[in-house]
């Protein structure tokens, strides 16, 4: 026997048919998310959000990328002893940036930048995979942000999708002779949105149950829009500002880091 609900003002009815409107579910999920007076730190999945088999699956999917990145690191570090410390320092910088709360306009909440776009511009996409592993692990341990069991899923979204999309956009625009800040803007914007897109897909894959996967993925992605659309633009502006600052104040770093030069194939 169904229970009665005493919510004031809400029209309650008992219906036999199950309403499958994705817009209705989106409205509820988005409003629930928006109503929570908490920092919107949804880009890293917390422990327990993914069922065990999905957590293991995503970790297994992330392992090949980490293995290739480690092999590349070993090979390149022989010729360039500064590479390992550079990757570690960029990871530490991403960790520090992730502790900086940013008020998200129009959403009434706070979030933080991913830093993946900037990392991909500085050290390339493969090394950014390692940057993401280290930064996410430090975040999980010291900030209780993200999770240990969801590390694989978070590395896939932030370290793989965010890094490769951001770096790809940056290189394409540089080849098209776009100015450095414009290319960095695109890298920051697209890496952030790619991270959220893949996080939505991961959540939908793990939670869709009997419903169509695509419908759930769209609903989750739409639920992220109120915070992530402005946050992506903010991250893009910060990435562009950072690269412009480096180019203006430290032009030696632009040539030393080979900003905009495509990374050698693994």
């Amino acid at each position: 026997m169904p229970l009665a609900c005493g919510l004031p003002g809400a029209e309650i009815a008992w219906r036999a048919r199950f309403t499958s409107s994705p817009a209705a579910r989106f409205a509820l999920v988005a409003s629930a998310l928006g109503a929570l007076p908490l920092p919107a730190r949804a880009m890293h999945l917390a422990d327990g959000v993914l069922p065990l088999r999905w957590a293991v699956s995503f970790a297994a999917a992330a392992v090949p990328f980490v293995a290739v990145a480690l092999a590349l690191l070993r090979r390149r570090a022989d010729g360039d002893p500064r590479l390992k410390p550079l990757v570690a320092m960029v990871a530490a910088a991403v960790f520090v940036l992730s502790a900086m709360p940013i008020p998200v306009p129009f959403a009434g909440t706070c979030s933080h930048v991913c830093g993946t776009g900037l990392a991909a511009v500085i050290v390339g996409p493969w090394m950014t995979v390692l940057v993401a592993v280290v930064a996410l692990l430090l975040q999980a341990v010291f900030l209780a942000h993200g999770g240990l069991t969801t590390l694989g899923a978070d590395v896939l979204s932030m370290g793989v999708a965010g890094a490769f999309v951001g770096h790809g956009a940056f290189c394409l625009l540089r080849r098209a002779r776009a100015p450095l800040p414009a290319a960095a803007f695109a890298a920051g914007l697209l890496s952030d949105w790619a991270t959220y897109g893949v996080t939505s897909i991961e959540l939908a894959a793990a939670l869709h149950g009997a419903r169509p996967f695509g419908q759930v993925a769209v609903a989750v992605a739409l639920a992220f829009v109120p915070t992530q659309l402005p946050l992506g633009v903010l991250e893009a502006l910060l990435t562009a500002g950072a690269v412009a600052f480096i180019a203006r104040r430290r032009p030696d770093l632009v040539s030393r880091l080979r900003l905009g030069t495509p990374e050698p194939a693994p």
């Binding site: 917390a46 422990d47 959000v49 069922p51 410390p85 209780a144 939670l207 950072a242």
Partner: protein, 252 residues
């Protein structure tokens, strides 16, 4: 113990067992880390995402109707099975995040790295982890001092100035990271560093202050049997046993 609790939390068969595990993890966190050091604020953020995931799970599970609410012309229906699934998902998030907090708030970082080394995590990855851990405070302090200086000069008044200041701040942090990497690489070369290929056999001079307490051959299990550690371990054992026992006889 906390790792086992984390694994049990993810596979918890019922809401009751997950909640029992979560309650025991709270006790263990309070006993091991204390009320001040426990990361409650960060956990709240994780629980908000967990609540969203549980809500999704609840609404997407079809079954016999339990409740229908009309919002903006759309009927949103919650099924009996959906409510059960949503409750289970939320309790798993609570148990898993609290178990994770138990692990991280009661285990020193070098011991976590030693555990990763024991689990055959590749040495270069551990080396990156230790280097980043060592330098995060220095980078954080530098970042904070630049941010304070900007704030003192009205760098965060108005949206345009705030964005420009934040971009400069991130750029300065990136420059600092690159410079620090160069200095660290030179220092490592001067000390004859060659990474961590034989972590358990011989620790490098740079890393030994960090790792030696955890990997020391003089490490005595009896010394770690302090009252607090025994209490935390006892909480963990009770949590895991109670969770397993409740899970077998749970209604759903």
């Amino acid at each position: 113990m906390a790792l086992a609790a984390l694994a049990v939390a993810l596979a918890a068969p019922s809401t009751t067992s997950a909640l029992v595990l979560a309650a025991c993890a709270v006790v263990a966190v309070l006993a091991g880390a204390g009320r001040q050091r426990a990361p409650w604020r960060a956990l709240l953020a994780a629980w908000s995402l967990g609540a969203m995931a549980a809500l999704l799970r609840a609404l997407l599970t079809p079954g016999a109707p339990l409740l229908t609410v009309h919002v903006g012309g759309h009927a949103i229906q919650l099924s009996r099975a959906g409510a059960a699934q949503g409750g289970l998902a939320l309790s798993r998030v609570l148990a898993a995040t609290l178990s994770g907090a138990w692990l991280t708030s009661t285990t020193p970082f070098p011991k976590l790295v030693a555990a990763l080394a024991w689990a055959r995590v590749p040495a270069p990855l551990l080396e990156l982890l230790l280097l980043a851990h060592r330098h995060r405070h220095a980078l954080g302090d530098s970042f904070e001092s630049v941010r304070c200086a900007q704030a003192m000069r009205f760098g965060y008044v108005g949206l345009r100035r705030s964005i420009a200041s934040a971009g400069t701040l991130v750029g300065a942090a990136a420059c600092r990271a690159v410079d620090q990497a160069g200095a660290t690489a030179e220092a490592m070369q001067l000390r004859g560093e060659h990474g961590l290929p034989a972590l358990s056999l011989a620790l490098s001079p740079v890393l030994s202050p960090v790792l030696s307490p955890a990997l020391s051959p003089d490490f005595s299990p009896s010394e770690s049997c302090t009252e607090a550690n025994v209490f935390v371990a006892g909480c963990g054992a009770i949590a895991i046993l109670a969770s397993a026992a409740l899970g077998w006889g749970a209604p759903w």
